[in-house]
Amino acid sequence: MTHDFAAVAELMKDEIVTHSLAEEMTLPSGKTIVLITLDNGLDHTKPTTLGPNSLLELREVLTGLKQRAAAGEIDAVALTGKPYFLVAGADLSAVSNLKRAEDARAMAALGHATYDLLADLGVPTFSFINGLALGGGLEIALACTYRTVSAAAGALGLPESFLGLIPGWAGIYRLPRLIGPEAGLKVIIENPWNNNRTLSGPAAYKLGVADALFEPADFLEQSLQFADSVLTGDHVVQRPNTVDDSTVEGAARFQAAAEVSYRFIETKVSGAAPAPYKAIEVFRAGIGRSQRESARLEIDALTEMMATAQFHNTIYGFLDLVQRRSKRPAGAPDAKLARPVTKVGVVGAGLMASQLALLFVRRLQVPVVLTDLDQSRIDKGLGYIHGELDKQLAKGRMSQDSVNRAKALVSGSITKDVFADADFVIEAVFEELSVKKQVFAEVEDVVRPDCILATNTSSLSVTEMGRDLKHPERLVGFHFFNPVAVMPLLEISGTEWTDDSTLATAFSMGKTLRKTCVRTADSAAFVVNRVLLRLMSEVQAAFDEGTDALTADTALKPMGLPMTPFTLLAMVGLPVAQHVNESLNAAFGERFTVSKNLQSLIDHQIKALWIEDQNGQQVIDPKATSVMEFGNNPSSAEQVLIRVQDALAQEIGLLLDEGVVAEPQDVDLCMITGAGWPLHLGGITPYLDQVGASERVNGKKFHS
C-alpha cells in the first residue's frame, strides 16, 4: 500500500521541525561514521518531537546514507539528540490534528518507512540515547542495530497506551524481543498506567534496552569509541535478555506475559480505555510473526486508535490542560502583586491540618506553627509530621540535613499568639461555619492586618466566613484534596472583598507548593466536590429507588473512574459526605438529595457498603441493607449511567453559567487533578459531549 506522506506533511505547516543534521567523521580505527543529530534548533524547554515534516527530512537523509552505504562510502550511521533529549516522541498535537483516516494511516506508515531504513541501512546503525526518549523517540533507538545510553538520561519509555495510542512504530515488536516479553510489556503497559513511570538510563541499560552505559560528561565521545570497537570487532555485544518468539518456549513466554498484562490493565481501566487493550492485542497477534507482518497490524491499530475519542480526549487533557492551562491559571492576578510568605500558621492539628503543615514546611521551607485546643492533639500532629519526614528520609527522598531543617521549622502551640508574625494562617478545623468564624475572630485578634487568612473549607461559604472580619480583604479559600501530598489540585477562591494582592499571594504559594491552581468563585463546594457529590447523589438516589447495589455501584464502569461511587463514599466517610450533601442541598436545592438511607447508615455507625465476607469476597454488608428502605423503581446499569451523565452535564452547565470557573477546560482540569478522573474522558466535558449528554440536557455541547 502506498501512502501520500507529502500530503500529511503539507497539512502540518506549523510543525516545529526536528532537523536531521548529519556530520561525517572518521573514527580512531579509520572507519567512517555519519552522526545524525536530531535538533529542532530550540533550547531544552522545547523538546524535539517528530511530526511528518521531521520524519520526511530524516527519511531523506537516511535514504541518501543507504545509497552511500551500498557504495561502500560509509561504515556506520549513528543517531543522537540535542542536549537532554534524544526525541520526546511523535508530535502529538500534529498527530491529533489528523482528521482523515488516510492521513492517520499515512502518519503511522511514515514512522515505519523511516525507522525501517535505520533497521536495514546496509551498515550497522547506532543510537546514542543522550537524554529523554519517549514513545517514537525510544522506538527510533530500538530500530538501530546498537544502542548506548547516558547514565544521566531521564525518562525512557513507551507511554503510548496511556495517551490513547500503541507503540506502533515497531516498539511493540522490537522491545519485547530485545529485553524479554515480561520486561517489554512492563514498559509498554504497566509503567504508563502506573503514573506514567519511565526508565532511567541505568535502569534501561540493566534491562538490556541499551548495549552500553556511559557517564554524561563524555557520553558522545565514549559512544563513538564504543561504535568503533563494535565496528572493528574488538567489542562483541552480548544480549542475554533477548527472547525468540518463533520457538515454542519463547512464544509461551510471550503469551504468558500478555496474560499478566491483560489482568493488570483490567484492574486499572476495566475496559474504559481501548488503547492498552489494543496494544496487548497487537502484541499477541505479532507472536511468531515477522516485524514486517507486525508493522501492518501496528499501522492498522494506530489508524484505529487515532480516530478514538479517548485518544483526542487524552491529548486535550494532557497537552492543553495538564501541560499548558495548569501553568497559566485562568483568572490569576498579576504575580508581581504577591507578598512574601515567611511564616505560616495552621489552625488545627488533626490529620488534614498536619498534612497541610507537612506540605508547607517541605515546599515553602519557612516556620510552620500549628495550634489546637490541647497539647496532646498538637503532639499527635507533630508526631505525624515527624513520622512522614522520617519516611522520606528512609526512602532516600530527603537528606538527613533537610529532614532536620524541616523538623526544626515545625512547632505547635495551644495559644494563637504564635501567629503574631505569620504572613499566612490557614484553618483546617471542623466543617461548621460558626466554628470557623470563631477561629478567624480569634486569629484576627493576634495577627497583623495584612496577614492572609485562608480556609480549607470544602463546602462552606467563604463569604460568610469573612462577613464579620475586620479585614475581609485578606481572606481566601484555599482548598486542597486528600491526600494532600498526592493530589495536585488547589481550588483558590476569593470573595467580593478579597483583594488582588491576597489572591496573587495565594497563587504564588500554590505554585511553590507545586499544586495546579484553579481560580473558582466562592460557591458551595467549588468545582470538584460539587461534581463528585452530584454524581454520588444520583447513584445514591438510584440505589434508594430500588436499584440493586452492584448495579448501582458498577453502572459507571464504562467511564473508567478511579473508584466506584460506594468506594469513594467509604473513603470520604459517610458522615462527611452527608454533611457536604446538606450544605449543597441548602445551597442548590433538591439536585443534591440528603438521603435518608445514608443517614440511617450513619446512625447505625456503618462505615462502608462493601465489606469482605469470610472468603475475602467483596459483598454488600447485609447489616447495611437491613437498616435501609428501598423503593420499587429499580434502574438498569445503562439507565444509571445515562442519569449520571445527564446530571453531570446539567451540574457543570449550571456551574459554568454561575461563573464558578471561567471555562469547561477549568472543570476538566479540576476533575483530572482533584479527583483523578481519567485523561481519556478529557476530564469530563469532552466525554459528556461525546455521549450526547450535553446536548440532551443543555441543548449544546461544551466544546464546539
Binding site: 543534521l21 556530520e23 573514527l27 552522526l35 563524555d218 558522545l220 565521545e221
Partner: protein, 412 residues
C-alpha cells in the same frame, strides 16, 4: 632505561616530582567559525581530566590531592574556581579539592610548578594540573581594567598591554631578527608539526572532543584546527602587519587566537612507585623571572638562566627545547641569546604554537606532554626544558630529566 624499568622507581626520591601523563583537547580557532564555537570552556577541561584518569586506571580518583586548573580570564564558563568546578564536573569524588590559577600564558605551567612545590613539600602525592582558554568566549583582555597608574607613573607602557606590540618592540631591540627570519621560523614550525602528525606523534596525546556548533550537528574533533601545513615563505611574505604599519609581526609568524584545554598528571616519586606508574619525566628545577613588559617575549631568557642555575646545569646540558611560540621573534631572541641555530633539531621537534595554536593558559602542559613523548623517543637526551614568555613581561622555565636516559638518577 624504560620508564617502566624498576630502576627508574628505585632512582626516584620519595619527594621527587614526576610527570606521569598529559593530554589535551585538539586546539580550535577562536571565534564563530571555530570548532568549539558555542562550547563551554569548563566542558573542554572536563574532557582532559576524564581522559587522564581513564588512561591511568592505576590512579584511584580519590587519591587525587588537588586539581589545579589555570585560565587567564576567570569569569563565566572559566570562572567559579575552575579547578574545583572541573573536578566536580569530571565526576571526581567530592573529597578531591581544586583551585584556579592565573599567570596568563603560563597558567598551566604555573599549575604544574605550584602543585610540584606541594608534592616536594609532602603536601600532595597525586595532582592534576592543567589549563584552559576559550579565547572565543573570552577575547584577550576582555573585562580587564588596567590601573591608570601604569600610564601616569610610566610603570607599564599601555602599548605593552597588547602582546603584538611587544613583539614588534623585540624586533626593534634585536635588529638581527628580521621579518624574513621570523617567517622562515614560522614555515618550519608548520612543516615540523605536519611531519609530527604524519609520524603519529601528536595524536596519542589528544582526547577526542564532541562539539556542537549552533545550528549544526554534533561533530567529533580529533585533530587540531589551526595548522596550515604546506605554508611557504611566499604565503607569509605579504601578510598584513596588524600591530604596526610596515611592521614585522603577522598572523603568519605568531600564534593565533585559540580554544583548548590541557591537563597533566603528576605524582611524588613515592606515589609513582606505590601505584606502579611509569615516570615519563622528573622535574629538576623551575623558575619564573620578570623583564620589561615592553619586551615581554624576552622573559624565557632570564627564567631559563635562573632555572639552570638552580639545577646546576648549563645550556649545553639541555638536549631538547619545548619553547612556546607566541611569536617567532620571541623564540628567535631566546635562541640567539644562547647561540642556537633557529633550525637546530633540539628545538620544538613537533613544531610549536605558531602552527598548533596557543589557547593561553593551557599551553604550558602541551609543552610538557610533547617533551615527555620526545624523551621516550630519544633516550640519548638527559635533560630538556619547557619555557614560555608571559604577558606583562615574564618568563617561565621548567627543566626536566629523562628517565629513559642511562644516567637517570645519578648526579649530573
Amino acid at each position: 632505561m624504560s620508564a617502566n624499568d624498576p630502576r627508574v622507581h628505585t632512582a626516584l626520591s620519595d619527594r621527587d616530582v614526576v610527570f606521569i601523563d598529559g593530554v589535551r583537547t585538539p586546539f580550535g580557532k577562536a571565534g564563530d567559525k571555530g570548532i568549539y564555537h558555542g562550547m563551554r570552556a569548563d566542558d573542554l577541561a572536563v574532557k582532559t581530566v576524564r581522559e587522564l584518569l581513564r588512561r591511568n586506571p592505576n590512579v584511584p580518583a580519590q587519591k587525587v590531592d588537588e586539581v589545579a586548573m589555570a585560565a587567564t580570564t576567570q569569569t563565566g564558563d572559566q570562572g567559579l574556581t575552575i579547578g574545583r568546578t572541573v573536578g566536580l564536573l569530571s565526576g571526581l569524588p567530592k573529597s578531591v579539592p581544586g583551585y584556579a590559577i592565573d599567570r596568563m600564558c603560563a597558567g598551566a605551567m604555573t599549575a604544574v610548578t605550584s602543585t610540584a612545590g606541594g608534592i616536594a613539600f609532602g603536601s600532595y602525592d597525586v595532582v592534576i594540573a592543567g589549563g584552559v582558554e576559550h579565547m572565543g568566549n573570552h577575547p584577550m583582555g576582555a573585562g580587564a581594567d588596567p590601573n591608570p597608574r601604569f600610564l601616569a607613573e610610566r610603570i607599564v607602557d599601555p602599548q605593552a598591554l597588547n602582546m603584538g606590540n611587544t613583539a614588534e618592540n623585540l624586533h626593534d631591540r634585536f635588529p638581527a631578527i628580521t621579518k624574513e627570519r621570523a617567517d622562515r621560523y614560522a614555515v618550519s614550525s608548520q612543516r615540523k608539526l605536519a611531519a609530527a602528525y604524519e609520524a603519529g606523534q601528536i595524536q596519542p596525546d589528544l582526547v577526542p572532543v564532541a562539539s556542537r556548533r549552533p545550528g549544526e550537528g554534533w561533530k567529533l574533533n580529533t585533530a587540531d584546527e589551526p595548522p596550515r601545513p604546506g605554508t611557504t615563505l611566499e604565503d607569509l611574505a605579504d601578510l598584513r602587519t596588524p600591530f604596526r604599519a610596515h611592521g614585522r609581526v603577522t598572523a603568519g609568524n605568531a600564534a593565533g587566537l585559540n580554544d583548548g584545554a590541557t591537563a597533566a598528571l603528576l605524582t611524588s616519586g613515592q606515589a609513582a612507585r606505590e601505584l606502579g606508574l611509569a615516570a615519563r619525566m622528573r622535574m629538576v628545577s623551575f623558575a619564573f623571572a620578570g623583564v620589561d613588559p615592553d619586551v615581554m617575549g624576552y622573559g624565557p631568557v632570564p627564567a631559563t638562566e635562573k632555572a639552570l642555575a638552580k639545577a646546576g646545569l648549563g645550556i649545553q646540558d639541555i638536549g631538547l627545547f619545548e619553547i612556546n611560540e607566541a611569536f617567532a621573534v620571541q623564540v628567535l631572541s631566546f635562541l640567539d641569546h644562547y647561540g642556537i641555530d633557529q633550525d637546530d633539531p633540539r628545538v620544538n621537534r613537533y613544531g610549536g604554537a605558531i602552527a598548533v595554536g596557543h589557547p593561553l593558559a593551557s599551553s604550558g602542559v602541551r609543552l610538557m606532554t610533547q617533551l615527555a613523548r620526545q624523551f621516550a623517543e630519544d633516550s640519548s637526551v638527559r635533560y630538556g626544558i619547557t619555557t614560555m614568555c608571559i604577558g606583562l613581561g615574564m618568563g617561565g622555565t621548567v627543566i626536566w630529566e629523562n628517565p629513559h636516559h642511562q644516567d637517570f638518577g645519578t648526579e649530573a
